[in-house]
């Protein structure tokens, strides 16, 4: 049984004041998320990711198709006891503190007050907000609210965690705390559906990804199997001289020097990095990192969707 199942899911929104007309936000999306899987749900802005997330917790109702979580319809109250949800840019009542909010939500799950208090303290500590737990939420930064949002999504030790852009609005420290939390969810065997428009987040955290474009599922599978094109290479080196860089022929696309002596060299796809690496090492440079630079999700969508439309036109 899939932990999350979307079956021919379609959602239209009526727009316009006088003459209302339907605009499709999701069109026949079918997708299974297996138990224990961390699925990256990716797409550019407006692709339909947030709409899907809202359908999964019945903030929206489907136009057609169905949504199942843990084998039950999305609106089932019993299922919600086993699900955690973080909306995009979460907002909360301004008059409460993070601790009070989490205790309130804990009580809605049916936890006794001491248990709710204990869970709230543990989670606020886990997201790095222990010292700020009594600060009114209206005085919290966006990043702090995001972390409170992550904490409230995990309050009930959920089997299924739905996270809509969990790393958005976080500073470096916050990103690290939340990333490590997400990795621990993966290790604990929880099912996670992580929506993001940032490919690197999914690369680091997800076992499989699904890509949404213009309301349709454009691709699903392991990232390596999706056929994202490598656009070039990014090489990070230390102890390299300007003469060595100049000697790379033809010249690299871009060279950025940091104050600490590191140098970031961008190479086009047409330049295999191995000979350059060997040359730099011979000259005494230290290689710190070499990473392929994939095409962006937007580029992938344009290529995939445009390709599909061309195929359809040719067939029609």
């Amino acid at each position: 049984m899939a932990a999350v199942r979307l079956l021919a899911l379609t959602k239209d929104f009526d727009i316009g004041f006088w003459r209302r007309r339907p605009v499709a936000a999701l069109q026949g999306v079918t997708l299974d998320v297996a138990p224990g899987e961390v699925l990256g749900y990716l797409g550019p802005n407006g692709a339909g990711k947030t709409t899907t997330m809202k359908l999964l917790v019945q903030l929206l109702f489907p136009t057609s198709g169905s949504v199942e979580v843990l084998g039950r319809p999305a609106g089932d109250v019993a299922v919600r006891r086993r699900v955690g949800f973080l909306p995009e840019a979460p907002a909360f009542g301004d008059n409460l503190s993070a601790e009070e909010l989490l205790i309130h939500y804990g009580r809605l799950f049916g936890f006794a007050a001491p248990d709710a208090r204990r869970r709230a303290a543990r989670l606020l500590d886990r997201v790095g907000l222990d010292a700020e737990r009594r600060r009114p939420l209206r005085r919290c930064s966006r990043g702090m609210r995001q972390r409170v949002g992550v904490a409230q999504a995990l309050l009930n030790d959920p089997e299924v965690v739905l996270l809509d852009e969990p790393l958005a609005g976080l500073d470096a420290l916050g990103r690290r705390a939340v990333r490590s939390l997400l990795l621990s969810l993966r290790e604990e065997g929880r099912t996670v559906l992580l929506s993001s428009h940032i490919l690197s987040d999914a690369e680091a955290l997800c076992s499989r990804i699904a890509i949404l474009a213009r309301g349709r599922l454009a691709a699903a599978g392991r990232l390596a199997d999706l056929g994202l094109e490598v656009r070039g290479w990014e090489l990070v080196v230390a102890g390299v001289t300007p003469a060595q860089v100049a000697a790379i022929e033809p010249a690299p696309e871009r060279v950025t020097r940091a104050d600490d002596g590191r140098c970031v060299i961008a190479l086009p796809r047409s330049r295999p990095p191995e000979p350059i690496l060997a040359e730099l090492i011979r000259g005494g440079a230290r290689i710190l990192a070499l990473a392929p630079q994939h095409e962006t999700l937007e580029e992938f969508f344009v290529r995939t969707v445009a390709g599909r439309e061309a195929e359809r036109e040719a067939a029609g």
Partner: protein
């Protein structure tokens, strides 16, 4: 029931910490104090003026509290999107409406209760500082238990207004919901005039429209017994009971509508 109680307590606590009560209640207290001062200028009438203005202040303060909180608790939360995390918890949407309404009623009880205590305090002060001869000239005692009937009916009326605010908040923006609730309050107090408009303008579309509206809109005028209480007219218990029952029916209808609409609403 446990969920509704928790939601109600949360809504009450949220309201108590909001700025609305901190602004409106002192304003009403000031108004009651001002009533005492203006009463000094009218020989022999100060008790009536304090009662009249005091009850009016309680009703107006309660009205704005009911509208601002009622609209903010639902439409405001939908607009701010703070309702998203709440609705993802094991709660049903109708429980959210009922819980918020119960919390709002609790806030209104505290609101009217505080103002009633202040009003009685001012009246007791007036009674203590007046001469026995002046007191003999009053139609009713300053600290008149009948004031409680007026306060109680104000509270019932506010329960209707709060339910209407929640109902409008389920399908419109906070500003629009507030405007519709205030409109309903004003029209509700002129309901009897709508029914008799035909006698003034004669039969026609306007009169038919007014008569039709009078059947749709709640009649809020019976909840206002300030004049009767101030001028020592009787307010029988049967009248209070019947008016309360009518108010509860109005509130239940609005709440039923709110639950129905909110349970099916897409939260975009």
């Amino acid at each position: 029931m446990r969920v509704i109680t928790q939601l109600a307590w949360h809504a009450f606590r949220d309201a108590a910490r909001g700025r609305v009560l901190y602004v409106l209640v002192p304003f009403a207290v000031l108004l009651i104090g001002a009533a005492w001062l203006s009463g000094q200028l009218t020989a022999g009438q100060e008790v009536k003026i304090v009662k009249d203005l005091g009850l009016t202040a309680a009703a107006l303060c309660g009205l704005f509290t009911a509208v601002v909180l009622g609209v903010g608790l639902l439409a405001g939360e939908v607009e701010r999107r703070s309702v998203y995390t709440l609705l993802a918890k094991p709660v049903r949407r109708h429980e959210v409406v009922l819980g918020k309404y119960a919390g709002l009623v609790l806030a209104l009880v505290v609101n009217v209760g505080v103002l009633a205590i202040v009003l009685y305090g001012v009246l007791a002060f007036v009674a203590a500082t007046e001469s026995a001869e002046a007191r003999r000239g009053w139609e009713t005692p300053a600290v008149d238990p009948a004031l409680l009937k007026a306060c109680f009916l104000i509270l019932v009326q506010l329960m209707v207004v709060a339910a209407a605010a929640l109902f409008f908040a389920t399908f419109s923006s906070p500003a629009l919901a507030a405007a519709m609730t205030l409109g309903l309050y004003v029209a509700g107090h002129f309901n009897a005039d709508l029914q008799t408009l035909e006698e003034i303008v004669g039969p026609g579309l306007t009169a038919s429209l007014a008569t039709g509206l009078s059947f749709v809109l709640p009649n809020l005028a019976p909840f206002n017994v300030t004049a009767e209480v101030v001028h020592a007219q009787p307010v029988p218990p049967g009248y209070v009971a019947l008016t309360t029952a009518t108010g509860l029916v109005y509130a239940a209808l609005f709440l039923g509508g709110a639950m129905l609409v909110f349970s099916r609403r897409d939260l975009t």
